[in-house]
């Protein structure tokens, strides 16, 4: 009797036991990284429920994920060099390997067949088969002048034409890696793009690869339709002669917010969001904000920009109206508001609140919180809609 009851209870529990696979679509699912415990949770964004918790994924500080094109598998990139393929319908780790000593992120190829990982240690890019994570290519970064170390690689993204783009932090380069022939990667190297590139993004259409520079003003822009023209510096006069504030957390460029012909991006070392006209890459406005922005994310319809901030202002979120460029709401969801992810059509945004061990869900019309889900020290949230977006 007791046992039957227990079985029924288990069946009713939203937290399905691992190994028992679900029969359903994945279009409304996602994952959240629980960075301190080396685990992830699989999320159902329609029912606002946790479906699975998957453990044993190593050091997930600064972890990120991409999805297989069928939206069933998440590829996780851990700080410890771990690359894990997780089946989100079963809540299981299909395969896991430690491919490097210290990594920063990864990307999946246009056709979904290859997964690339960007490493700090040893610096370079490694490429694996998305099917079984078997090695396909190992591309070491440029050695440093000072010794045997190789440059750290940052800002790895996928690009149309079965290519990857990556930047080299120490040596100031951007590379395009063409994987049309997986056995013979063709690498195009652009040197002197600027000092200390720290992150990069690709515009949603896959045309422009833009690299943020920590060591100087401006950003490096590479037009992937015309790579032969080489990278050029944009916004180089931004903030000239102004004292920068110390940076307590590097901003993220992935998911650079684009609304209409305008792009919104975090200013480095300043309490500002920059607005750029993408037709000529000129700065059209600077919006004063609460702190140093980390993520500047556009609601999918482009009407709002949601911004979170670096330490010590990471308890605050602000929402900017993209027409008036005014801040329409400022609120404090809790300390360690680390990451935001919009549902595919933008009616909700899910926010990780590290110090409250929860994910808060907001209605993007009313701007009010509607749900809360438990998660241990949550950081990145990644929904399966990323499976079909270049650069995510």
């Amino acid at each position: 009797m007791m046992r039957t009851l227990l079985v029924i209870l288990m069946f009713l529990s939203p937290l399905t036991a691992a190994g028992e696979c679900l029969t359903r679509g994945t279009g409304d699912l996602g994952i959240v990284i629980e960075r301190a415990s080396g685990s992830i949770k699989v999320l159902d964004t329609s029912r606002h429920e946790v479906l699975f918790r998957v453990e044993g994924l190593g050091d997930l500080s600064h972890a990120s994920a991409v999805y297989s094109r069928d939206g069933r598998y998440a590829f996780l990139f851990g700080r410890d060099g771990g690359l894990s393929k997780v089946d989100i319908l079963c809540g299981t780790v299909v395969k896991r390997l430690v491919q490097g000593g210290n990594s920063i992120g990864g990307a999946i190829s246009q056709d979904g067949s290859l997964v690339a990982v960007s490493n700090y240690e040893p610096g370079g890019v490694k490429i694996f088969s998305a099917e079984d994570l078997s090695p396909v290519a190992d591309i070491p970064a440029t050695p440093l002048e000072t010794g045997e170390k190789l440059s750290k690689t940052v800002g790895l993204v996928d690009a149309p034409g079965q290519r990857f783009a990556v930047s080299l932090y120490d040596t100031g380069e951007s590379w395009i890696i063409d994987m049309q022939d997986p056995k013979a990667p063709a690498i195009r190297r652009f040197t002197d793009i600027g000092r200390l590139p720290y992150d990069a993004l690709i515009t949603p259409d896959g045309r422009y690869y833009i690299t943020g520079l920590f060591g100087q003003d401006g950003l490096s822009l590479l037009d992937l339709w015309y790579p032969e023209k080489g990278p050029r510096l944009i916004l180089e006069n931004y903030g000239k002669g102004e004292e920068k504030l110390p940076v307590y957390k590097m901003p993220h460029l992935e998911g650079w917010a684009i609304a209409g012909h305008r792009a919104f991006l975090p200013a480095v070392g300043r309490h500002e969001v920059l607005v750029v006209d993408m037709s000529n890459w000129s700065q059209v406005a600077r919006i004063p904000v609460h702190g140093q922005p980390v993520f500047v994310m556009a609601r999918p319809d482009g009407r709002q920009i949601w911004v979170n901030y670096a330490f010590p202002d990471n308890d605050t979120i602000q929402i900017i109206d993209t027409e008036s460029l005014q801040i329409v709401k400022t609120f404090k969801p809790g300390k360690g508001a680390l990451h935001m992810e919009f549902t595919p059509r933008g009616e909700e945004v899910w926010i990780s609140i590290r110090d409250k061990d929860e994910i808060q869900v907001y209605d993007t019309q009313t701007l009010e919180q509607t749900h809360s889900l438990p998660a241990e020290k949550p950081s990145g949230i990644f929904f399966t809609s990323r499976a079909h977006q270049t650069g995510l």
Binding site: A36, E121, Y169, Y198, F214, K249, M250, F311
Partner: protein, 110 residues
């Protein structure tokens, strides 16, 4: 004769323990916990949550063998010009920086 060096060593050990005891006694246990949380989550955003390095270098004790506590505390308080390392002085006092530097040299896993 053989005992002779042992005495100053013992004294030195006692002195070191007292100093270390005094240093940590200056910082309340709750504040120590806060500092380690900061080390893990905020320093960790560049140096890795396990302090094994990221965009910023590793903070493991092997790296600091050649560093004295003063130098390390100064790097925490004032940052390292020419690198992305920012000054933490607005958030950390001098004794706290010395305490953190000592913990790092010892090899702490926050």
């Amino acid at each position: 004769m053989r005992l002779k060096p042992a005495v100053p060593n013992l004294l030195l050990t006692a002195l070191t323990i007292t100093l270390a005891g005094m240093a940590s006694a200056d910082i309340a246990p709750e504040r120590q916990a806060e500092l380690l949380y900061l080390l893990k989550h905020d320093c960790g955003s560049c140096h890795g949550m396990r302090l094994e390095g990221g965009l910023g270098p590793s903070l493991k004790p092997e790296r600091f063998r050649q560093w004295d506590t003063e130098t390390l505390a100064a790097a925490i308080l004032y940052g390292r010009p020419g690198t992305p390392m920012p000054p933490w002085r607005p958030f950390i006092t001098e004794p706290e920086a010395y305490w953190l530097a000592g913990q790092l040299k010892k090899g702490i896993q926050p």
